[in-house]
Amino acid sequence: MSDFLVYLITGLGTGCGIALIGSGLVLIHRVTRVVNFAQGTFAVVGALTAISFLDTGLPHGLAELLGVAVAAVVGLLFGMVAIGRRGTSPQAALMVTLGLGILAYAVEVMLWGDQGRSSEGLSGAVTVFGARIQTHYLLIIGVTVAVFAAVAALFGRTDAGKALSACSSNPYAARVLGISVTRMGLIAFTVGGALGGLAGVLLAPMNSVSFDSDVTLIINGFAAAVVGSMHHIGRTLAGALFLGVAEAMVAGYGSATYQTVVALGLVLALMIGQAARTHSVVAEAG
């Protein structure tokens, strides 16, 4: 029983990291219709920057904050290249993000080398029902809940959020109403960069981060975002938590080799089931 609880909490922690990646993908897609394949890069940049600042002796908290800030700036820069030129199609912008992600490999290797690095997370552990659970996992879960509540409130309740949604819903109409579609897209990329960076600094203590860690992150994050149709924040969170817990269970009771494969297979099954149940999926994709 206590094994199960440990796997569950570990899985939820991993799932929250995936969810943060997925939330950035959804946010950027909701505003610009661009699937940002550089979302994992933001996490890597955020994590490695934070680790470097920790090495220079900056205290925890401040170093992570700077990591997130640098990731936000990188998000803005990527956004400027991907969507800064008016008339760039979302498909072209997608390829640009992919290219920028690969270009970022070179810069990351130059700055941080090609070895994986890790940081110390929140130390200590608590015992719940006889299971020892790292405090850091609870931190990740708490931060993720707060972030998702904020993003959901932004889109659901504020005029700014509605204006952001309007940009992808009907860019022409948005321009007619005086909403600057490009500026909104850049805001989305900046916030998306920060969310990616946040995922990176939170995940760095759990898994070592190297320049190519973005691949695993983006595969999982993308799967979660697709569960949410690249649009729904709540369903993205649910998809991410399911993925994280499934991976932890497979690794715990089976073999870690298969954790990603099995988890993604389950997501695939889930999506096929979803598509068979509702016809609206087609409408949403179009």
Partner: protein, 296 residues
């Protein structure tokens, strides 16, 4: 005062405007003016440059030569209604006030949609529905209401009747006339349905191949044989369709001209392309005339 003479008090003054798309000239030496509180029609065939002119007025396109002076707040009802389909009607309306942010009034007053619902009471019932699921006529009302949210002194409407059933168009036309009368909002109406436009507006411009082919009082233009033949489609002397002054029967009733036509016309904007919508327009005009004849 002679309404055809330019004056400093005009809310819109366009002089010798030239707009190009690459090498193609869309507008060639176009001059136009709108006085405060005036209703002006802009008619002409497909591709004459009507929408280009509108988009230049609202600053979406930039002129190659000539001057465009807009001396009052202007808002546009874009062609094809352009809903934010996955947002609610209320959200669509509130976004109309986006460009007022940071100006004078309190944000709360800017976001207040109640006066738009008073003006367009049919929207009250659907205020929490997604705009994408509304009928064409309801969407056009949302588009008008959304434009009004920026409190314009000039309202530019690009194709009011396109793809809409005649009774819906008559209702919209009546709302526009009321808005013009009660709030003093100037209206620039771009229409393919010249009959409707000339009925509703006091002055009109006829745009052909990027040039102003004719201008003047609507009544004079409607009486001109050339205009009648080219744009009104029939010889003179036929009764005009229901417009602002003749809103048509409120209840369609059993002897409604052709309910099937209305149904297809109303569905066209949501399921069809612009082509089908345009195709339906002839039906719309015919049905409008039939409705007018029945009413007499």
């Amino acid at each position: 005062m002679n309404p055809s003479q330019p004056s400093r008090s005009d809310v819109v003054e366009v002089r010798d405007l030239v707009v190009r798309y690459g090498a193609a000239t869309a507008l060639d030496s176009v001059s136009l003016r709108v006085a405060p509180g005036e209703m002006v029609a802009l008619v002409g065939p497909n591709g004459a440059g009507k929408s280009t002119l509108v988009n230049t007025l609202t600053g979406i396109l930039t002129p190659a030569f000539g001057s465009v002076e807009v001396r009052a707040r202007i808002a546009q009802v874009p062609e094809g209604r352009q809903m934010f389909g996955d947002l609610t009607v209320d959200d669509n309306l509130r976004l109309g006030a986006w460009q007022l942010r940071g100006r004078g009034q309190s944000r709360r007053k800017q976001r207040d949609t109640s006066w738009v619902y008073e003006l367009l009471p049919d929207l009250v019932r659907v205020r929490d529905r997604k705009a994408g699921g509304l009928s064409g006529g309801q969407q056009q009302m949302v588009a008008v209401g959304r434009a009004l949210m920026s409190r314009p002194e000039v309202l530019v409407i690009d194709e009011l009747s396109l793809g809409l059933a005649p009774l819906v168009v008559a209702d919209l036309a009546e709302h526009l006339a009321e808005l013009n009368r009660e709030q003093g909002t100037a209206v620039v109406l771009i229409e393919q349905n010249a009959r409707l436009a000339l009925d509703l507006c006091s002055r009109a411009y006829v745009l052909e191949a990027g040039r102003i082919a004719a201008e003047g009082d609507s009544a004079d233009l409607a009486a001109s044989p050339d205009i009648a033949r080219a744009y009104l489609g029939e010889a003179q002397g036929l009764p005009s369709p229901p417009g602002a002054h003749d809103p048509g029967p409120d209840d369609p009733g059993p002897d409604d001209p052709d309910p099937d036509d209305r149904a297809t016309a109303d569905l066209a904007p949501t399921v069809g392309t612009a082509e089908t919508a345009r195709g339906n327009q002839d039906t719309t005009v015919q049905a409008a005339r039939a409705a007018a004849r029945e009413a007499k």
